[in-house]
Protein backbone atom coordinates (compact mmCIF):
# COMPACT_ATOMS: atom_id res chain seq x y z
CA UNK A 1 0.00 0.00 0.00
CA UNK A 2 1.50 3.29 -1.04
CA UNK A 3 -0.26 6.47 -0.14
CA UNK A 4 1.02 9.86 -1.01
CA UNK A 5 2.39 11.65 2.00
CA UNK A 6 0.64 14.77 0.78
CA UNK A 7 -2.79 13.28 1.37
CA UNK A 8 -1.57 12.12 4.76
CA UNK A 9 -0.47 15.66 5.61
CA UNK A 10 -3.83 16.96 4.51
CA UNK A 11 -5.74 14.48 6.68
CA UNK A 12 -3.49 15.28 9.60
CA UNK A 13 -3.99 19.01 9.13
CA UNK A 14 -7.77 18.67 9.11
CA UNK A 15 -7.82 16.28 12.09
CA UNK A 16 -5.43 18.40 14.13
CA UNK A 17 -7.12 21.70 13.27
CA UNK A 18 -9.80 21.80 16.01
CA UNK A 19 -7.29 20.77 18.63
CA UNK A 20 -4.72 23.24 17.35
CA UNK A 21 -7.15 26.17 17.37
CA UNK A 22 -8.42 25.39 20.88
CA UNK A 23 -4.92 24.95 22.27
CA UNK A 24 -3.68 28.12 20.65
CA UNK A 25 -6.56 30.20 22.03
CA UNK A 26 -7.07 28.66 25.46
CA UNK A 27 -3.69 27.28 26.37
CA UNK A 28 -0.65 28.65 24.54
CA UNK A 29 -1.78 32.25 24.31
CA UNK A 30 -3.08 32.50 27.93
CA UNK A 31 0.12 30.92 29.26
CA UNK A 32 2.40 33.34 27.40
CA UNK A 33 0.09 36.23 28.17
CA UNK A 34 0.14 35.35 31.86
CA UNK A 35 3.93 35.61 32.01
CA UNK A 36 3.94 38.83 30.01
CA UNK A 37 1.18 40.37 32.11
CA UNK A 38 3.08 39.58 35.30
CA UNK A 39 5.74 42.12 34.27
CA UNK A 40 3.23 44.95 33.80
CA UNK A 41 0.96 47.03 35.99
CA UNK A 42 -2.07 46.36 33.76
CA UNK A 43 -5.58 46.20 35.18
CA UNK A 44 -7.65 43.05 34.50
CA UNK A 45 -8.83 44.39 31.13
CA UNK A 46 -6.73 46.98 29.32
CA UNK A 47 -3.13 47.96 28.64
CA UNK A 48 -0.43 48.50 31.24
CA UNK A 49 3.16 49.68 31.53
CA UNK A 50 6.19 47.39 31.78
CA UNK A 51 7.35 47.38 35.39
CA UNK A 52 9.92 44.59 35.32
CA UNK A 53 10.00 42.45 38.44
CA UNK A 54 8.04 44.95 40.54
CA UNK A 55 5.02 42.68 40.94
CA UNK A 56 7.20 39.85 42.21
CA UNK A 57 8.88 42.14 44.74
CA UNK A 58 5.47 43.30 45.87
CA UNK A 59 4.35 39.71 46.33
CA UNK A 60 7.43 38.96 48.39
CA UNK A 61 6.61 41.79 50.78
CA UNK A 62 2.83 41.34 50.81
CA UNK A 63 1.69 39.84 54.10
CA UNK A 64 -1.54 38.57 52.58
CA UNK A 65 0.41 36.64 49.95
CA UNK A 66 2.56 34.90 52.54
CA UNK A 67 -0.60 34.04 54.48
CA UNK A 68 -2.00 32.57 51.26
CA UNK A 69 1.13 30.51 50.64
CA UNK A 70 1.26 29.20 54.21
CA UNK A 71 -2.42 28.38 54.31
CA UNK A 72 -2.11 26.48 51.04
CA UNK A 73 0.82 24.46 52.37
CA UNK A 74 -1.00 23.92 55.66
CA UNK A 75 -4.11 22.70 53.86
CA UNK A 76 -2.08 20.30 51.69
CA UNK A 77 -0.23 18.97 54.74
CA UNK A 78 -3.54 18.39 56.52
CA UNK A 79 -5.45 16.81 53.66
CA UNK A 80 -3.05 14.90 51.41
CA UNK A 81 -1.08 12.47 53.65
CA UNK A 82 -4.11 11.68 55.81
CA UNK A 83 -6.34 11.26 52.77
CA UNK A 84 -3.94 8.91 51.01
CA UNK A 85 -3.32 6.84 54.14
CA UNK A 86 -7.00 6.57 54.94
CA UNK A 87 -7.77 5.57 51.36
CA UNK A 88 -5.21 2.76 51.60
CA UNK A 89 -6.62 1.51 54.90
CA UNK A 90 -10.18 1.56 53.55
CA UNK A 91 -9.04 -0.12 50.32
CA UNK A 92 -7.58 -3.00 52.38
CA UNK A 93 -10.89 -3.37 54.17
CA UNK A 94 -13.06 -3.09 51.05
CA UNK A 95 -10.81 -5.50 49.14
CA UNK A 96 -11.66 -8.28 51.62
CA UNK A 97 -15.36 -8.02 50.87
CA UNK A 98 -17.04 -9.96 48.07
CA UNK A 99 -19.86 -9.51 45.57
CA UNK A 100 -22.75 -7.12 46.15
CA UNK A 101 -21.59 -6.17 49.64
CA UNK A 102 -18.34 -4.89 48.18
CA UNK A 103 -20.21 -2.91 45.51
CA UNK A 104 -22.41 -1.21 48.10
CA UNK A 105 -19.57 -0.40 50.48
CA UNK A 106 -17.43 0.90 47.62
CA UNK A 107 -20.30 3.07 46.39
CA UNK A 108 -20.76 4.51 49.90
CA UNK A 109 -17.13 5.60 50.00
CA UNK A 110 -17.01 6.71 46.38
CA UNK A 111 -20.28 8.61 45.93
CA UNK A 112 -19.12 11.89 47.55
CA UNK A 113 -16.35 12.19 44.94
CA UNK A 114 -18.75 12.70 42.03
CA UNK A 115 -20.72 15.47 43.76
CA UNK A 116 -20.31 19.15 42.81
CA UNK A 117 -18.42 21.18 45.40
CA UNK A 118 -21.50 23.33 46.00
CA UNK A 119 -23.42 20.28 47.15
CA UNK A 120 -20.58 19.23 49.45
CA UNK A 121 -20.64 22.76 50.84
CA UNK A 122 -24.37 22.65 51.52
CA UNK A 123 -24.24 19.21 53.14
CA UNK A 124 -21.34 20.03 55.48
CA UNK A 125 -22.55 23.53 56.16
CA UNK A 126 -25.67 21.82 57.51
CA UNK A 127 -23.77 19.06 59.33
CA UNK A 128 -21.58 21.61 61.15
CA UNK A 129 -24.28 24.25 61.59
CA UNK A 130 -23.77 26.11 64.86
CA UNK A 131 -27.33 25.86 66.09
CA UNK A 132 -28.85 22.74 64.56
CA UNK A 133 -25.96 20.79 63.00
CA UNK A 134 -25.84 17.13 63.91
CA UNK A 135 -22.02 17.29 64.22
CA UNK A 136 -22.52 19.48 67.31
CA UNK A 137 -23.42 16.31 69.23
CA UNK A 138 -19.77 15.31 68.77
CA UNK A 139 -18.19 18.78 68.87
CA UNK A 140 -20.01 20.43 71.75
CA UNK A 141 -18.90 17.94 74.45
CA UNK A 142 -15.29 18.54 73.32
CA UNK A 143 -15.86 22.25 73.74
CA UNK A 144 -17.22 22.11 77.26
CA UNK A 145 -20.85 21.85 76.14
CA UNK A 146 -20.72 25.01 74.03
CA UNK A 147 -21.79 24.81 70.38
CA UNK A 148 -18.91 25.56 68.00
CA UNK A 149 -19.05 27.85 65.01
CA UNK A 150 -16.59 25.73 63.05
CA UNK A 151 -16.06 27.92 59.99
CA UNK A 152 -15.81 31.16 61.97
CA UNK A 153 -13.24 29.88 64.42
CA UNK A 154 -9.92 30.57 62.73
CA UNK A 155 -7.87 27.64 64.12
CA UNK A 156 -10.65 25.23 63.15
CA UNK A 157 -11.25 26.50 59.63
CA UNK A 158 -8.46 24.77 57.68
CA UNK A 159 -8.69 21.47 59.59
CA UNK A 160 -12.46 21.42 58.97
CA UNK A 161 -12.05 22.18 55.26
CA UNK A 162 -9.30 19.54 55.02
CA UNK A 163 -11.56 17.01 56.76
CA UNK A 164 -14.40 17.74 54.35
CA UNK A 165 -12.01 17.53 51.41
CA UNK A 166 -10.78 14.12 52.53
CA UNK A 167 -14.40 12.98 52.78
CA UNK A 168 -15.11 14.38 49.32
CA UNK A 169 -12.00 13.21 47.39
CA UNK A 170 -11.20 9.89 49.05
CA UNK A 171 -13.20 7.88 46.49
CA UNK A 172 -10.71 8.66 43.75
CA UNK A 173 -7.66 7.39 45.68
CA UNK A 174 -9.68 4.44 46.92
CA UNK A 175 -10.41 3.23 43.38
CA UNK A 176 -6.75 3.37 42.42
CA UNK A 177 -5.68 1.51 45.56
CA UNK A 178 -8.29 -1.21 45.04
CA UNK A 179 -7.13 -1.67 41.44
CA UNK A 180 -3.55 -1.90 42.74
CA UNK A 181 -4.47 -4.47 45.38
CA UNK A 182 -6.29 -6.62 42.84
CA UNK A 183 -3.15 -6.70 40.74
CA UNK A 184 -1.20 -8.44 43.51
CA UNK A 185 -1.39 -12.14 42.79
CA UNK A 186 -3.12 -14.14 45.52
CA UNK A 187 -0.49 -16.86 45.11
CA UNK A 188 2.04 -14.69 46.90
CA UNK A 189 -0.26 -14.44 49.91
CA UNK A 190 -0.99 -18.16 49.85
CA UNK A 191 2.71 -18.93 49.83
CA UNK A 192 3.27 -16.53 52.72
CA UNK A 193 0.38 -18.09 54.62
CA UNK A 194 1.90 -21.54 54.21
CA UNK A 195 5.14 -20.15 55.57
CA UNK A 196 3.21 -18.99 58.59
CA UNK A 197 3.43 -15.26 57.96
CA UNK A 198 0.82 -13.38 59.96
CA UNK A 199 -1.46 -10.65 58.69
CA UNK A 200 0.83 -7.79 59.72
CA UNK A 201 3.94 -9.43 58.31
CA UNK A 202 2.11 -10.08 55.03
CA UNK A 203 1.15 -6.43 54.83
CA UNK A 204 4.65 -5.27 55.69
CA UNK A 205 6.52 -7.57 53.34
CA UNK A 206 4.09 -8.05 50.45
CA UNK A 207 1.29 -5.51 50.26
CA UNK A 208 3.18 -2.37 51.20
CA UNK A 209 6.14 -2.78 48.79
CA UNK A 210 3.89 -3.93 45.94
CA UNK A 211 1.36 -1.13 46.42
CA UNK A 212 4.12 1.50 46.68
CA UNK A 213 3.98 2.62 43.00
CA UNK A 214 0.22 3.23 43.36
CA UNK A 215 0.84 5.17 46.57
CA UNK A 216 3.33 7.39 44.74
CA UNK A 217 0.83 7.97 41.95
CA UNK A 218 -2.06 8.76 44.29
CA UNK A 219 0.09 11.02 46.44
CA UNK A 220 1.31 13.01 43.45
CA UNK A 221 -2.16 13.40 41.95
CA UNK A 222 -3.64 14.51 45.28
CA UNK A 223 -0.77 16.92 45.96
CA UNK A 224 -1.20 18.70 42.64
CA UNK A 225 -4.97 18.71 43.01
CA UNK A 226 -5.04 20.09 46.55
CA UNK A 227 -2.48 22.84 45.89
CA UNK A 228 -5.19 24.33 43.70
CA UNK A 229 -7.61 24.58 46.63
CA UNK A 230 -10.08 27.38 46.18
CA UNK A 231 -13.74 26.34 45.87
CA UNK A 232 -14.22 25.04 49.41
CA UNK A 233 -12.36 27.93 51.03
CA UNK A 234 -14.32 30.47 49.00
CA UNK A 235 -17.69 28.89 49.80
CA UNK A 236 -17.08 28.35 53.51
CA UNK A 237 -15.71 31.87 54.02
CA UNK A 238 -18.75 33.47 52.39
CA UNK A 239 -20.00 36.18 54.72
CA UNK A 240 -17.11 35.90 57.15
CA UNK A 241 -13.42 36.81 57.46
CA UNK A 242 -11.60 35.90 54.29
CA UNK A 243 -8.08 37.26 54.77
CA UNK A 244 -6.95 34.93 57.55
CA UNK A 245 -8.05 31.96 55.46
CA UNK A 246 -6.56 33.17 52.18
CA UNK A 247 -5.15 30.53 49.81
CA UNK A 248 -3.15 30.96 46.61
CA UNK A 249 -5.84 30.63 43.95
CA UNK A 250 -8.06 32.87 46.05
CA UNK A 251 -5.26 35.45 46.14
CA UNK A 252 -5.00 35.42 42.34
CA UNK A 253 -8.73 35.96 42.13
CA UNK A 254 -8.67 38.69 44.78
CA UNK A 255 -5.93 40.71 43.04
CA UNK A 256 -7.12 40.28 39.47
CA UNK A 257 -10.90 40.25 39.80
CA UNK A 258 -11.76 42.03 43.03
CA UNK A 259 -8.99 44.66 43.11
CA UNK A 260 -8.57 44.88 39.30
CA UNK A 261 -4.79 44.37 39.44
CA UNK A 262 -4.26 42.09 36.46
CA UNK A 263 -0.47 42.33 36.60
CA UNK A 264 -0.18 41.38 40.24
CA UNK A 265 -2.76 38.62 39.80
CA UNK A 266 -0.78 37.20 36.89
CA UNK A 267 2.45 37.33 38.91
CA UNK A 268 0.88 35.32 41.73
CA UNK A 269 -0.46 32.86 39.12
CA UNK A 270 3.08 32.42 37.79
CA UNK A 271 4.27 31.67 41.32
CA UNK A 272 1.54 29.06 41.82
CA UNK A 273 2.43 27.57 38.46
CA UNK A 274 6.10 27.25 39.42
CA UNK A 275 5.32 25.86 42.86
CA UNK A 276 3.15 23.13 41.37
CA UNK A 277 5.66 22.17 38.69
CA UNK A 278 8.66 22.13 41.05
CA UNK A 279 6.88 20.33 43.89
CA UNK A 280 5.36 17.66 41.69
CA UNK A 281 8.63 16.86 39.95
CA UNK A 282 10.59 16.89 43.21
CA UNK A 283 8.09 14.82 45.10
CA UNK A 284 7.77 12.25 42.36
CA UNK A 285 11.55 11.81 42.27
CA UNK A 286 11.81 11.52 46.04
CA UNK A 287 9.08 8.93 46.35
CA UNK A 288 10.47 6.94 43.45
CA UNK A 289 13.94 6.91 44.96
CA UNK A 290 12.49 5.72 48.26
CA UNK A 291 10.62 2.95 46.46
CA UNK A 292 13.72 1.67 44.70
CA UNK A 293 15.60 0.98 47.92
Amino acid sequence: MIRSSRSEYLSAAVLMAPFFVIYAIFFVYPTIKMVELSFTNAPLIGPGKWVGLDNYFRLASDRLFSIAVWNTIYFVALSVPSGVLLALVIALGVNRLKGWLQSIVLAAFFLPYILPVSVVYRIWGWMFDKDFGVAQYVLAPLNGGQHLSVFRTVPLFMPAVAFITVWWCLGFSLLLFIAGLRNISSEIYEAAELDGAGRWLQFQRITWPLIWPVTVLVFTIQLILQLKIFDQVYLFTQGSRVDVNMVMVFYILRQAFQLNKGGLGAASAVVLFLVIVVLSVLQFQLLRARGQK
Binding site: E8, V14, L37, V105, I123, V134, L201
Partner: protein, 296 residues
Protein backbone atom coordinates in the same frame (compact mmCIF):
# COMPACT_ATOMS: atom_id res chain seq x y z
CA UNK B 1 14.79 -10.42 51.63
CA UNK B 2 16.76 -13.45 52.84
CA UNK B 3 16.21 -12.29 56.41
CA UNK B 4 12.46 -12.45 55.82
CA UNK B 5 12.66 -16.01 54.56
CA UNK B 6 14.62 -17.09 57.60
CA UNK B 7 12.17 -15.47 59.94
CA UNK B 8 9.24 -17.06 58.15
CA UNK B 9 10.84 -20.48 58.53
CA UNK B 10 11.48 -19.92 62.20
CA UNK B 11 7.90 -18.87 62.89
CA UNK B 12 6.44 -21.84 60.97
CA UNK B 13 4.74 -23.90 63.65
CA UNK B 14 3.23 -27.38 64.01
CA UNK B 15 -0.15 -28.07 62.45
CA UNK B 16 -2.25 -27.75 65.61
CA UNK B 17 -0.77 -24.43 66.58
CA UNK B 18 -1.28 -23.17 63.05
CA UNK B 19 -4.94 -24.14 63.09
CA UNK B 20 -5.43 -22.25 66.34
CA UNK B 21 -3.74 -19.24 64.83
CA UNK B 22 -5.94 -19.38 61.72
CA UNK B 23 -9.04 -19.36 63.89
CA UNK B 24 -7.77 -16.35 65.74
CA UNK B 25 -6.97 -14.62 62.47
CA UNK B 26 -10.51 -15.16 61.30
CA UNK B 27 -11.75 -13.24 64.33
CA UNK B 28 -9.39 -10.42 63.40
CA UNK B 29 -10.64 -10.62 59.81
CA UNK B 30 -14.23 -10.40 60.97
CA UNK B 31 -13.37 -7.38 63.07
CA UNK B 32 -11.76 -5.65 60.06
CA UNK B 33 -14.85 -6.34 57.97
CA UNK B 34 -17.07 -4.97 60.71
CA UNK B 35 -15.00 -1.78 61.00
CA UNK B 36 -15.14 -1.35 57.21
CA UNK B 37 -18.93 -1.66 57.24
CA UNK B 38 -19.28 0.85 60.08
CA UNK B 39 -16.91 3.15 58.22
CA UNK B 40 -19.05 2.95 55.09
CA UNK B 41 -22.14 3.87 57.11
CA UNK B 42 -20.38 6.85 58.68
CA UNK B 43 -19.09 7.91 55.25
CA UNK B 44 -22.53 7.80 53.68
CA UNK B 45 -24.29 9.41 56.64
CA UNK B 46 -23.82 13.07 55.59
CA UNK B 47 -25.39 12.22 52.22
CA UNK B 48 -28.31 10.54 53.91
CA UNK B 49 -28.66 13.34 56.44
CA UNK B 50 -28.65 15.99 53.73
CA UNK B 51 -31.25 14.10 51.73
CA UNK B 52 -33.59 13.31 54.60
CA UNK B 53 -33.56 16.92 55.80
CA UNK B 54 -35.07 18.04 52.48
CA UNK B 55 -38.21 16.04 53.27
CA UNK B 56 -38.82 17.71 56.62
CA UNK B 57 -40.82 20.82 57.42
CA UNK B 58 -38.65 23.73 58.54
CA UNK B 59 -40.02 23.63 62.12
CA UNK B 60 -39.00 19.97 62.32
CA UNK B 61 -35.51 20.72 60.95
CA UNK B 62 -34.69 23.27 63.65
CA UNK B 63 -36.19 21.26 66.49
CA UNK B 64 -33.57 20.02 68.97
CA UNK B 65 -32.91 16.28 69.08
CA UNK B 66 -31.79 13.75 66.52
CA UNK B 67 -34.54 12.69 64.16
CA UNK B 68 -33.44 10.10 61.59
CA UNK B 69 -36.74 10.12 59.69
CA UNK B 70 -39.21 12.98 59.01
CA UNK B 71 -42.27 12.97 61.24
CA UNK B 72 -44.36 14.55 58.49
CA UNK B 73 -42.95 13.73 55.08
CA UNK B 74 -43.13 16.73 52.75
CA UNK B 75 -42.12 17.88 49.25
CA UNK B 76 -42.68 21.51 50.24
CA UNK B 77 -38.97 22.38 49.97
CA UNK B 78 -38.68 21.00 46.45
CA UNK B 79 -41.87 22.68 45.32
CA UNK B 80 -40.60 25.97 46.68
CA UNK B 81 -37.20 25.87 44.99
CA UNK B 82 -38.67 24.66 41.71
CA UNK B 83 -41.22 27.47 41.62
CA UNK B 84 -39.42 30.32 43.38
CA UNK B 85 -35.82 30.11 42.16
CA UNK B 86 -34.28 30.19 38.69
CA UNK B 87 -33.21 26.59 39.03
CA UNK B 88 -34.81 25.81 35.66
CA UNK B 89 -32.42 28.20 33.92
CA UNK B 90 -29.44 26.91 35.88
CA UNK B 91 -30.28 23.34 35.01
CA UNK B 92 -30.58 24.12 31.30
CA UNK B 93 -27.36 26.15 31.35
CA UNK B 94 -25.50 23.33 33.07
CA UNK B 95 -26.94 20.82 30.63
CA UNK B 96 -26.04 22.88 27.54
CA UNK B 97 -22.50 23.70 28.64
CA UNK B 98 -21.73 20.19 29.94
CA UNK B 99 -23.04 18.45 26.82
CA UNK B 100 -21.20 20.94 24.59
CA UNK B 101 -17.93 20.40 26.48
CA UNK B 102 -18.37 16.62 26.31
CA UNK B 103 -19.14 16.44 22.59
CA UNK B 104 -16.43 18.90 21.58
CA UNK B 105 -13.76 17.35 23.79
CA UNK B 106 -14.47 13.83 22.53
CA UNK B 107 -14.44 14.83 18.83
CA UNK B 108 -11.37 17.01 19.22
CA UNK B 109 -9.43 14.50 21.31
CA UNK B 110 -10.32 11.52 19.11
CA UNK B 111 -9.25 13.37 15.94
CA UNK B 112 -6.02 14.62 17.47
CA UNK B 113 -5.32 11.27 19.11
CA UNK B 114 -5.85 9.50 15.79
CA UNK B 115 -3.62 11.90 13.85
CA UNK B 116 -0.79 11.66 16.38
CA UNK B 117 -1.11 7.90 16.66
CA UNK B 118 -1.57 6.91 13.02
CA UNK B 119 -0.32 9.64 10.73
CA UNK B 120 3.10 10.93 10.00
CA UNK B 121 3.26 14.69 9.62
CA UNK B 122 5.66 17.48 10.43
CA UNK B 123 5.23 18.73 13.99
CA UNK B 124 3.76 15.46 15.23
CA UNK B 125 6.34 15.08 17.99
CA UNK B 126 6.04 18.74 18.89
CA UNK B 127 2.29 18.41 19.44
CA UNK B 128 2.76 15.28 21.49
CA UNK B 129 5.25 16.97 23.81
CA UNK B 130 3.04 20.01 24.09
CA UNK B 131 0.14 17.80 25.19
CA UNK B 132 2.27 15.99 27.75
CA UNK B 133 3.62 19.34 28.97
CA UNK B 134 0.19 20.95 29.27
CA UNK B 135 -0.69 18.15 31.64
CA UNK B 136 1.42 19.95 34.26
CA UNK B 137 -0.05 23.43 33.86
CA UNK B 138 -2.50 24.15 36.66
CA UNK B 139 -5.61 25.45 34.90
CA UNK B 140 -6.72 27.62 37.87
CA UNK B 141 -3.48 29.59 37.38
CA UNK B 142 -4.78 30.60 33.95
CA UNK B 143 -8.04 32.17 35.19
CA UNK B 144 -6.77 35.72 34.75
CA UNK B 145 -5.72 35.32 31.13
CA UNK B 146 -8.68 33.09 30.31
CA UNK B 147 -10.87 35.94 31.41
CA UNK B 148 -8.93 38.35 29.19
CA UNK B 149 -9.20 36.00 26.17
CA UNK B 150 -12.90 35.47 26.71
CA UNK B 151 -13.52 39.20 26.99
CA UNK B 152 -11.45 39.87 23.84
CA UNK B 153 -13.71 37.38 22.08
CA UNK B 154 -16.74 39.22 23.48
CA UNK B 155 -17.92 36.09 25.28
CA UNK B 156 -18.09 37.32 28.88
CA UNK B 157 -21.39 36.35 30.48
CA UNK B 158 -22.25 33.86 27.71
CA UNK B 159 -22.50 30.08 27.77
CA UNK B 160 -19.89 29.88 25.00
CA UNK B 161 -17.51 31.71 27.32
CA UNK B 162 -18.16 29.10 29.99
CA UNK B 163 -17.42 26.27 27.56
CA UNK B 164 -14.23 27.65 25.94
CA UNK B 165 -11.49 27.10 28.53
CA UNK B 166 -12.96 23.72 29.50
CA UNK B 167 -11.98 22.34 26.10
CA UNK B 168 -8.34 21.90 27.12
CA UNK B 169 -8.31 18.18 27.82
CA UNK B 170 -4.81 16.78 27.36
CA UNK B 171 -5.59 13.57 29.25
CA UNK B 172 -8.35 12.65 26.82
CA UNK B 173 -6.01 13.05 23.84
CA UNK B 174 -3.32 10.98 25.56
CA UNK B 175 -5.77 8.16 26.31
CA UNK B 176 -7.12 8.10 22.73
CA UNK B 177 -3.60 8.05 21.34
CA UNK B 178 -2.68 5.08 23.52
CA UNK B 179 -5.76 3.12 22.55
CA UNK B 180 -5.38 3.88 18.85
CA UNK B 181 -1.74 2.80 19.09
CA UNK B 182 -2.85 -0.67 20.11
CA UNK B 183 -5.26 -1.19 17.21
CA UNK B 184 -3.52 -3.73 14.91
CA UNK B 185 -1.99 -2.13 11.81
CA UNK B 186 -3.68 -4.77 9.60
CA UNK B 187 -7.07 -3.09 10.03
CA UNK B 188 -5.76 0.18 8.78
CA UNK B 189 -3.93 -1.30 5.83
CA UNK B 190 -6.85 -3.48 4.75
CA UNK B 191 -9.31 -0.60 4.94
CA UNK B 192 -6.95 1.79 3.19
CA UNK B 193 -6.56 -0.81 0.40
CA UNK B 194 -10.33 -0.62 -0.09
CA UNK B 195 -9.95 3.11 -0.59
CA UNK B 196 -11.12 4.32 2.82
CA UNK B 197 -9.76 7.72 3.79
CA UNK B 198 -8.61 8.70 7.25
CA UNK B 199 -11.94 10.16 8.30
CA UNK B 200 -13.75 6.96 7.41
CA UNK B 201 -11.05 4.99 9.19
CA UNK B 202 -11.45 7.07 12.32
CA UNK B 203 -15.23 7.15 12.47
CA UNK B 204 -15.97 3.67 11.06
CA UNK B 205 -13.15 1.62 12.56
CA UNK B 206 -11.05 3.26 15.24
CA UNK B 207 -13.82 4.95 17.21
CA UNK B 208 -16.32 2.05 17.10
CA UNK B 209 -13.53 -0.35 18.11
CA UNK B 210 -12.89 1.79 21.16
CA UNK B 211 -16.50 2.55 21.96
CA UNK B 212 -16.11 1.61 25.61
CA UNK B 213 -13.28 4.09 26.05
CA UNK B 214 -15.31 6.80 24.37
CA UNK B 215 -18.28 6.15 26.66
CA UNK B 216 -16.05 6.23 29.73
CA UNK B 217 -14.31 9.43 28.67
CA UNK B 218 -17.59 11.11 27.73
CA UNK B 219 -19.15 10.28 31.10
CA UNK B 220 -16.21 11.52 33.13
CA UNK B 221 -15.96 14.68 31.00
CA UNK B 222 -19.65 15.34 31.52
CA UNK B 223 -19.41 14.87 35.28
CA UNK B 224 -16.36 17.13 35.42
CA UNK B 225 -18.06 19.86 33.40
CA UNK B 226 -21.25 19.64 35.45
CA UNK B 227 -19.30 19.91 38.71
CA UNK B 228 -16.90 22.69 37.71
CA UNK B 229 -17.22 25.74 39.93
CA UNK B 230 -14.38 28.26 39.58
CA UNK B 231 -14.52 29.09 35.87
CA UNK B 232 -18.34 29.29 35.46
CA UNK B 233 -18.34 31.40 38.61
CA UNK B 234 -15.92 33.92 37.03
CA UNK B 235 -17.21 33.87 33.46
CA UNK B 236 -20.85 34.63 34.22
CA UNK B 237 -22.43 37.32 36.35
CA UNK B 238 -26.14 37.40 35.52
CA UNK B 239 -28.47 34.98 37.27
CA UNK B 240 -30.00 33.74 34.02
CA UNK B 241 -26.66 32.55 32.66
CA UNK B 242 -25.38 30.76 35.77
CA UNK B 243 -24.61 27.07 35.98
CA UNK B 244 -26.36 25.16 38.70
CA UNK B 245 -23.21 24.79 40.82
CA UNK B 246 -22.83 28.57 40.85
CA UNK B 247 -26.49 29.50 41.04
CA UNK B 248 -27.27 27.50 44.14
CA UNK B 249 -24.49 29.16 46.14
CA UNK B 250 -24.68 32.71 44.80
CA UNK B 251 -28.37 33.43 44.88
CA UNK B 252 -29.91 33.70 48.30
CA UNK B 253 -33.49 33.74 49.47
CA UNK B 254 -34.64 37.12 50.68
CA UNK B 255 -36.20 35.69 53.80
CA UNK B 256 -33.34 34.29 55.83
CA UNK B 257 -31.74 30.86 55.95
CA UNK B 258 -33.86 27.87 55.14
CA UNK B 259 -31.91 24.63 55.55
CA UNK B 260 -34.57 22.50 53.91
CA UNK B 261 -34.66 24.60 50.76
CA UNK B 262 -30.87 25.07 50.55
CA UNK B 263 -30.42 21.33 50.76
CA UNK B 264 -33.28 20.57 48.37
CA UNK B 265 -31.71 22.73 45.68
CA UNK B 266 -28.35 21.04 46.35
CA UNK B 267 -29.89 17.59 45.97
CA UNK B 268 -31.41 18.62 42.65
CA UNK B 269 -27.96 19.84 41.53
CA UNK B 270 -26.42 16.49 42.47
CA UNK B 271 -29.16 14.39 40.90
CA UNK B 272 -27.84 14.15 37.29
CA UNK B 273 -24.28 13.17 38.27
CA UNK B 274 -25.51 10.75 40.92
CA UNK B 275 -27.83 9.06 38.39
CA UNK B 276 -25.11 8.95 35.72
CA UNK B 277 -22.74 7.39 38.23
CA UNK B 278 -25.19 4.79 39.47
CA UNK B 279 -26.07 3.71 35.92
CA UNK B 280 -22.54 3.75 34.52
CA UNK B 281 -20.60 2.78 37.65
CA UNK B 282 -18.23 0.49 35.76
CA UNK B 283 -17.49 3.09 33.09
CA UNK B 284 -16.82 5.81 35.66
CA UNK B 285 -14.37 3.51 37.42
CA UNK B 286 -12.68 2.70 34.11
CA UNK B 287 -12.42 6.38 33.18
CA UNK B 288 -10.80 7.23 36.51
CA UNK B 289 -8.24 4.47 36.07
CA UNK B 290 -7.52 5.67 32.54
CA UNK B 291 -7.07 9.28 33.55
CA UNK B 292 -4.65 8.21 36.27
CA UNK B 293 -2.63 6.32 33.66
CA UNK B 294 -3.76 2.82 34.59
CA UNK B 295 -5.03 1.09 31.48
CA UNK B 296 -7.89 -1.26 32.24
Amino acid sequence: MSATVQRLEVTASPAAARLARLNRLDTVGLLITLVTLVGAIIWAFPLYWGLVTTFKHEYEIVRPGFQPWPEHFTFENYVHVLLQTKIGYWYINSLITSVAVTVLVVIMAASAGYAISQLDFPGRRFFWWMILGSFMVPIPALIVTHFIVISQLGLINTLAGVVGPQLIAPVTVIIYKQFFDSVPKDFREAAAMDGANDFQLLFRIYLPMNWGVTTALAIITFIGAWNLFLWPFLAVSSEDKMNITVGITQVHDNYGISYGRDLAVAMLAALPVAVVYLIFQRRVTQAIMLSAGIKG
